[in-house]
């Protein structure tokens, strides 16, 4: 066996705190090592060529690169050795940068540690077996979860690329948060006017199947071959018959139903179409308020409906679909105002959230665009905006910035002035975060042209005084306490992950951070991929994002899917569990423990029953290997022998 070892300087990143020459010298003493050298930047093209040449020149049959983390460059070098004619699994990396040179201060000890890291890698590489991936067919249908602007963008881009798309939206209409905004910063163009056409495209695109008011029940399978179950929730209206005429909504007697679309600014009817531009424009009954369900008698809508679409007996329906890739665009929610008791949101009617204010500003909103206070329906003259209401507040567990509040508050201040020329806006802020294109100019306009008074400081308490709300905070620039008597207070409430984000992540086998936002594969270089191949992220489910960023990510995710589906066959990862039929005693403990149901019984000719791995289903966790008493089932590339070789390489007392 002829192992070649290539030790990277990584400029000074490694060579600075590790004596690489020394490591090379020590490495040459290891039995089996035929060649060891150092190189300035092994990952560079000349660096990779050096490896290829050495393989042929020195007749190497195994390669070890001691450099950065394998999470960074393992794939790069696997390709390199493959190009030189070796099996890509005859390669190991020793992580001497992240795990050694960057964290250890003593050069001698680092050098020793690096040497042993290399020794471990050599020991393992000598145990490596050639592995060959099998290829399997791809189902070129893509599932998009979430019909917000990111999800719609992703769906449209996929569909325009000729892919069949399933778009699943949990609310009755697509559009998401953007559909509920009035105008958009920094251009002040009407949100629904630019979103509407997209929504229509989604509805009319012959490649897109839209499942509104539906949720993902179950996801099985693996990249290229998922089986999913979709729960179509009961709307109690047969959408195949409903024409969206809205007659039912006018006549519905229960007028105090909660209006989720309008963030509860005003009540709606128990049977309703969320908003005029809704897609699909169909009615649905809210059984929590509908008299037919609550009181057991009414049936007005059933009588009124011209197409007899009403069906009080309707049940949830589960449909099954096969797809090949998933784009997750489940969006975000806003923190509940009760979480900020010192501001009295929810307790005082005239303290509302920025989202609710959008609906008040909106011409198709419950007040048809007239700004009025919820308490007495009077027009407010003094409006106080409070940014970072919950954001950047460790005390309630939200240390992060919500990304777009600064901007929409500036926008709302501007719009307020447009709506009520003799009004005065106050904006309490911590910092003005406006890094986008044309953003900072925009916030300046709010102050300079529209006269919004910006006060740098946090608000400690809001309390009613007569029919005013007193906002008490500090002005950190004046170094004084300030009190503003406002008619209406608008909270820039913090962006949080959706309530079922974690649950969804577990269904998808993707990871999520402490706040429930989904974790991308690499924060810089793989922003829309997840660590689960075939699952991609778009929009605010990955972290607070404004519209342009969400749309960009939607398209990015779509292009990733396009790339994935550009092949008809996918290569399976050969680093999966494999059973040695001769030594398997058929106790099937592996079958009991496999998290993916990737193991099945198999009866041999002699009647013996043994375990058998379904390669494409196996995800390569290795639970089976550590379960098997006789070592008959081995996770390839992480076999007992390979790990034991590493242990033995460093424990040699």
């Amino acid at each position: 066996m002829r192992v070649g070892v290539f030790i990277c300087h990584c400029g000074n990143n490694i060579a600075g705190t590790i004596d690489v020459a020394r490591v090379a010298e020590e490495t040459r003493k290891i039995p089996g090592v035929a060649y060891a050298t150092t190189y300035m930047y092994t990952c560079s093209e000349p660096g990779q060529n050096e490896i290829k040449e050495a393989i042929t020149r020195e007749g190497l049959d195994r390669v070890v690169v001691a450099a950065c983390s394998p999470r960074m460059h393992e794939l790069t070098f696997r390709r390199t050795v493959e190009k030189a004619g070796l099996n890509r699994y005859f390669f190991e990396m020793a992580n001497i940068r992240e795990h050694i040179s960057w964290i250890g201060e003593n050069k001698d000890l680092n050098t020793l540690k690096a040497t042993e890291a290399v020794r471990m890698a050599v020991a393992k590489v000598m145990q490596d077996k050639p592995l060959y991936s099998t290829s399997f067919k791809v189902n070129k249908r893509v599932l998009v979860i979430g019909g917000g602007v990111a999800g719609m963008q992703a769906a449209l881009d996929c569909a325009d690329g000729g892919l069949e798309v399933l778009l699943v939206e949990k609310s009755p209409s697509v559009g998401g948060m953007m559909a509920r905004l009035d105008k958009t910063f920094p251009t002040i163009d009407c949100s629904i006017c630019i979103l509407g056409p997209k929504m229509v495209d989604v509805a009319q695109h012959d490649k897109i199947t839209l499942h509104a008011y539906s949720e993902i029940e179950e996801i099985k399978g693996y990249v290229g071959n998922y089986q999913i179950k979709i729960r179509k929730k009961a709307t109690y209206v047969d959408w195949s018959k409903c024409t969206g005429c809205g007659a039912c909504m006018e006549k519905c007697p229960s007028k105090n139903s909660y209006d989720a679309f309008n963030f509860g600014v005003a009540p709606t009817r128990a049977i309703n179409i969320p908003f005029p531009q809704a897609i699909p424009k169909k009615a649905k009954i809210d059984p929590n308020y509908c008299r037919q369900f609550v009181k057991g008698k009414c049936g007005v809508c059933a009588k009124i409906c011209p197409t007899n679409a009403i069906d009080y007996e309707m049940k949830d329906e589960i449909i099954t679909e096969d797809i090949g890739a998933i784009i997750v665009a489940t969006g975000y929610s806003l923190i509940d105002m009760d979480k900020l008791p010192e501001y009295g949101g929810g307790r005082y009617p005239d303290v509302i959230s920025g989202a609710q204010y959008e609906r008040l500003l909106n011409a198709s909103g419950p007040t048809s665009g007239h700004i009025v206070r919820p308490s007495d329906h009077m027009e407010p003259k003094t409006i106080a905006f409070i940014s970072c209401a919950g954001s950047r507040d460790k005390s309630i567990g939200i240390p992060y910035c919500s990304n777009f509040c600064c901007m929409y508050i500036a926008k709302q201040a501007i719009l307020t002035k447009d709506h009520i020329p003799d009004s005065q806006s106050y904006v309490f802020y911590m910092d003005i975060r406006s890094p986008g294109k044309g953003y900072d100019e925009f916030t300046r306009r709010a102050q300079e042209e529209y006269g919004a008074k910006y006060i740098r400081g946090r608000v400690s308490r809001i309390y009613p005084k007569g029919n005013k709300m007193v906002v008490r905070g500090s002005d950190t620039l004046l170094g004084a306490q300030v009190e503003v008597e406002a008619d209406l207070v608008v909270l820039g409430t913090a962006v949080v992950s959706t309530p079922d984000a974690a649950h969804m992540a577990e269904k998808l086998h993707i990871s999520y951070d402490t706040f429930g936002f989904y974790v991308e594969s690499h924060p810089k270089l793989r922003p829309v991929e997840t660590n689960t191949s075939g699952v991609f992220l778009a929009g605010a489910c990955q972290g607070p994002k404004d519209i342009p960023a969400s749309v960009g990510q939607g398209s990015a995710a779509a292009s990733k899917v396009q790339a994935l589906f550009s092949k008809d066959m996918l290569e399976s990862d050969p680093a999966v569990a494999r059973v040695n039929m001769n030594t398997c005693v058929g106790c099937l403990k592996c079958l009991k423990t496999c998290p993916f149901g990737a193991i099945k019984e198999k009866e041999l000719r002699d009647g013996r029953v043994v375990a058998d791995v379904i390669e494409t289903v196996c995800a390569g966790c290795g639970v089976c290997t550590s379960t098997c008493p006789c070592g008959a089932i081995q996770l390839q590339h992480f076999t007992d022998n390979q790990l034991l070789a590493e242990v033995n390489a460093i424990c040699r007392k």
Binding site: K255, P341, E342, G344, Y463, K465
Partner: protein
């Protein structure tokens, strides 16, 4: 009635400046059939300057008392004074959470404390253990034109992770208890505003300002009486009114009573039994107008009949209200 027997830690204030609190609360607890015992040989709770100087020492002072209670086998300790309660809850919290801290503290004690006692404010016991219904059940008297602003002060429910009771920003326990006792309670925005008492000596003008705010807000809220649950707040808001008046030209003359005194009145105790004379701004004008629930009912009926005679019963009015709200869209 509540099954268990409670410990009752009066603390220094209730032995002195706040005797009326002690006296009235005990009376009320008796009415509510809450059985309690006072620990022998109790000592300072530690909410002295100690806690600003040495946490272990402060905790030890608190723990000593808790240990005494623990030995008598009682689980819960009624602690009327918020300062004492915070001291106890802090010690309990810290010692239960960290073994090392517990050992440190216990080293200072003759009898180690095993963290088996929960300190509760009188409000918490009445609100959670006794229950609103029981409170209402015992009411015999009412004061028709009494309008109370419930004032909780700064530490009764704070910090939340220590207090573990009610809402730190918008507490409601006292509101509900008093309402249950048949008292009209105002919506008071400065429930937890700082009254400044703690700075009474070093920063008097500031305290006057803060006191002024609280009192003004109470008046604005339509209150003619303030209910408190803290000796320091009571003393400050009550005693300082004259000072504030002389400084700001205002004319505050609003009684500041312990919630237990107000409950006591509703339970028919005599002013003496509730030590009403111990407060500075007298509440006699209310005590005098006190009538039995029975009388109140008769009065109401009478008034209704007169109203009917005039042809518009308040009920009808209400109905109109409803229909109106239906029409709004």
């Amino acid at each position: 009635m509540v099954e268990t027997t409670y410990g009752y830690y009066a603390g220094c204030s209730l032995e002195g400046t706040a005797r009326e609190y002690d006296q009235s609360l005990k009376a009320v607890l008796k009415t509510l059939e809450v059985d309690f015992r006072e620990p022998d040989d109790w000592s300072c709770c530690g909410s002295t300057p100690a806690h600003t100087v040495d946490h272990v020492f402060a905790a030890a002072l608190a723990a000593r008392n808790l240990a005494i209670v623990e030995k008598t086998g009682l689980k819960t300790l009624i602690t009327p004074c918020p300062s004492c309660m915070t001291a106890f809850k802090k010690a309990q919290h810290g010692m239960a959470k960290s073994d090392s801290f517990r050992q440190e503290v216990n080293e200072l004690l003759d009898e180690p404390y095993e963290c088996g006692v929960t300190a509760k404010s009188a409000l918490q016991v009445i609100y959670e253990d006794v229950g609103i219904d029981a409170v209402a059940a015992k009411v015999t008297h009412t004061i028709p034109d009494l309008k109370v602003a419930p004032y909780y002060g700064c530490i009764l429910n704070r910090p939340p992770e220590i207090a573990q009771f009610d809402d730190p920003e918008n507490p409601v326990s006292m509101d509900k208890i008093l309402a249950a006792a048949g008292v009209e309670v105002c919506d008071f925005a400065f429930k937890v505003e700082c009254c400044g008492a703690a700075f009474g000596v070093p920063k008097r003008d500031m305290v006057n300002r803060l006191t002024y705010k609280v009192l003004t807000m109470a008046i604005d809220a339509g209150a003619n009486c303030i209910a408190v649950a803290c000796p320091l707040c009571q003393q400050n808001l009550d005693l300082r009114q004259e000072q504030v008046n002389s400084l700001t030209g205002s004319s505050f003359n609003i009684p500041v009573l312990y919630f237990s005194q107000i409950m006591g009145l509703a339970y028919g105790y005599s002013p003496e039994a509730l030590a009403m004379d111990k407060v500075i701004v007298s509440a006699d004008r209310f005590v005098r107008t006190r009538i039995t629930v029975q009388q109140a009912r008769e009065a109401k009926e009478l008034q209704e009949q007169q109203a009917k005679a005039k042809g518009k019963s308040p009920k009808a009015a209400e109905n109109k209200e409803e229909t109106k709200s239906e029409e709004i869209e």
